[in-house]
């Protein structure tokens, strides 16, 4: 039964990817879009009629495809990262951002905007956001270490404190450069609009690899939900797992945040949705949180692009306004006391 639902999610994801290209300020007929898709597939392309203009091809291939697939990659990494982090912390209200990631990424991004850095050309901001996000996680992790062990509670508190600290620095930077707030504002609210193939390829590669590693740790992460002591006594190398999982989450989510900006809610909520639908074992929670995150973000981006013609609403606003009420409704309907006790 579980596998039927998982297959269904996969089908929904494919549909979301295909049909999201229909949405946008320039109208291109669905038939043409399907033709454009077909023309990109080797071997099949010769059998496909080419009734579209090169401008239409450009719009789909250069603008919409990377944005949609970017939503897939970013959403999946947030969902998977959320599932891992919640297991490590044994805490349902954590998400990947909590280990210093989001504030670190903000600092990296805002610094390049405010200081006008461009040492790496077009992608200075993304690279800097990625580097600072990773750096912040490392600092949090090593600060939380006591006698070679990173206790979940210390890790969490250190992450929260560090996030406050870095966010304050970000605020200070913005405060002293009022005219640049607009630009930073959009990054802070998150957007998939600026994702290009050049950005997407490396990030997708990182997200795929880190997700596979995280998935390979599902039994260890399950055990850690019973407490670090318990996990150790059933044979899990808890500290190694924690280190590896946190590093993989940091790598994957930093990479995706660097191209999308801060998109909240997905990392927090998708793992819960997946636990409600598929049960609590990470064998299912990790992959389905990724699937749900991808579907959710692609759909949220459709709304962001399609709601008001000519305006792209920052996606972070959509995930909050649309996602939260939906989740609250769902949680009341279905949990049946799961989180009580």
């Amino acid at each position: 039964m579980r596998y039927v639902w998982i297959s269904l999610l996969l089908i929904i994801l494919v549909f979301a990817v295909v049909f999201s290209a229909f949405i946008g300020s320039v109208r291109i007929s669905p038939i043409k879009i399907l033709e454009i898709y077909g023309s990109q597939i080797p071997f099949i392309s010769t059998y496909i009629p080419h009734n579209f203009t090169s401008v239409q091809y450009e719009i789909i291939e250069q603008l919409r495809e990377p944005e949609i697939l970017g939503g897939l990659v970013v959403g999946a990494s947030l969902g998977i990262g959320g599932a891992a982090v919640q297991s490590i912390f044994r805490n349902p209200i954590t998400e990947p951002y909590i280990i210093g990631l989001s504030s670190g990424a903000s600092l990296g991004a805002v610094m390049t905007i405010v200081l006008g850095l461009s040492f790496l050309g077009f992608y200075t901001m993304q690279v800097s956001a990625f580097a600072f996000a990773l750096l912040a996680v490392f600092i949090v992790y090593f600060f939380a270490l006591r006698g070679g062990k990173a206790h979940p509670t210390y890790l969490l508190l250190t992450g929260v404190a560090m996030s406050f600290f870095i966010s304050a620095i970000v605020a200070l930077l913005l405060f002293s450069n009022i005219n640049l707030q607009g630009e930073a504002f959009f990054w802070l609210l998150g957007s998939l609009e600026d994702i290009t193939w050049t950005l997407l390829y490396p990030v997708a590669l990182v997200v795929i690899i880190t997700s596979l590693v995280i998935y390979s740790l599902y039994r260890e992460l399950d055990a850690m939900q019973m407490g670090d002591h318990h996990a150790r006594s059933v044979g899990v190398n808890v500290e190694r797992t924690k280190k590896l999982a946190i590093f993989m989450v940091a790598l994957g989510v930093s990479a995706s945040v660097s191209i999308s900006g801060l998109i909240g809610f997905v990392g927090l909520v998708m793992p819960h949705l997946s636990r409600i639908l598929f049960g609590g074992s990470n064998k299912y929670v990790i992959p389905t949180s990724g699937l749900l995150g991808a579907i959710f973000l692609i759909c949220a981006d459709d709304i962001a692009r399609g709601l008001v013609t000519g305006v792209v609403i920052p996606i972070g606003i959509i995930t909050g306004i649309v996602g939260a009420p939906f989740f609250l409704y769902f949680m009341r309907k279905l949990t049946g006391g799961r989180y009580e006790g």
């Binding site: 939900q225 002591h229 006594s233 059933v234 899990v236 799961r338 989180y339 006790g341």
Partner: protein, 246 residues
């Protein structure tokens, strides 16, 4: 499989344990007893290698416990923890699977382990929604499923009703008779008397007495570790027991 504690000490800022010397022989039931905070749980954690001694060594089959690989150690020692944490959302079966980490998964064995505790009907229930006693039974079943040579249980009868207490005591005896080694902490003096082979009595982190239960669990030794009055009584079948005035 043997465990040997040699001059083991463990120091914390406000508590110090030991020196403790102990030889754990296979196929016996050991009970560590003493007041709350006397160092029982700490002793069990030292045996398990969960914490390392400040001084002395813990040898498991002649090897330093801290040098044994995690999986290897899990095959030798299972631990029923005093505190039970709530996972985010697990069924009883998920909890059992966690304890199968060091062995080949086997659905039948999960079912068997639960049946031993009479809780096979819980298998698909939400673990977090079980009562304290029911959770305790599940964690004991999980330790059985882990199928290690030694089982450590920290206050395994906490929260259990009298039927389930007897069930667990009988199980502990059965496990011993099937060749397993058990290291427990218990508070019930009658039970300790009835089921254990050896006792270690602690007070404020110090050994006050240890040895075969029959010789060691007497009024003098208990007075060293506890403050309440004790008495000896005879049962109908001619055995004598110690007990506290309740």
């Amino acid at each position: 499989m043997k465990v040997k504690l040699q001059g083991v000490r463990y120091r914390l800022p406000n508590f110090s344990l030991g020196p403790i010397d102990m030889d754990v022989e296979p196929g016996k039931i050991y009970v560590v007893m003493g007041k709350n905070g006397s160092g029982k749980s700490t002793t069990l954690k030292l045996i398990h290698g969960d914490i390392r001694p400040s001084e002395g060594t813990v040898l498991v089959d002649g090897v330093d416990a801290s040098k044994i690989g995690f999986i290897q150690l899990a095959k030798k020692i299972a631990f029923v923890w005093q505190e039970i944490y709530n996972p985010l959302s697990f069924t009883v079966k998920d909890v059992m699977n966690v304890s199968g980490y060091s062995r080949d998964a086997d659905e039948d064995d999960i079912f068997k382990a639960l049946s031993v505790l009479g809780i096979e009907r819980f298998i698909d229930r939400d673990f977090n929604l079980l009562s304290g006693g029911e959770k305790r039974l599940v964690t004991i079943a999980a330790a059985l499923y882990q199928d290690s040579e030694i089982i450590i249980m920290d206050e395994p009868t906490n929260f259990l009703d009298i039927d389930n207490q007897i069930l667990v005591y009988n199980l502990i005896r059965d496990l011993r008779n099937s060749g397993k080694t058990l290291i427990l902490t218990l508070h019930d003096i009658d039970a300790i008397h009835n089921i254990s082979d050896y006792v270690l009595i602690l007070k404020d982190g110090m050994e006050v007495a240890k040895g075969p239960t029959r010789e060691t669990l007497n009024v003098q030794n208990l007075r060293k570790a506890f403050n309440v009055p004790f008495y000896t009584y005879d049962t109908v079948n001619g055995k004598s027991f110690v007990g506290a005035m309740k």
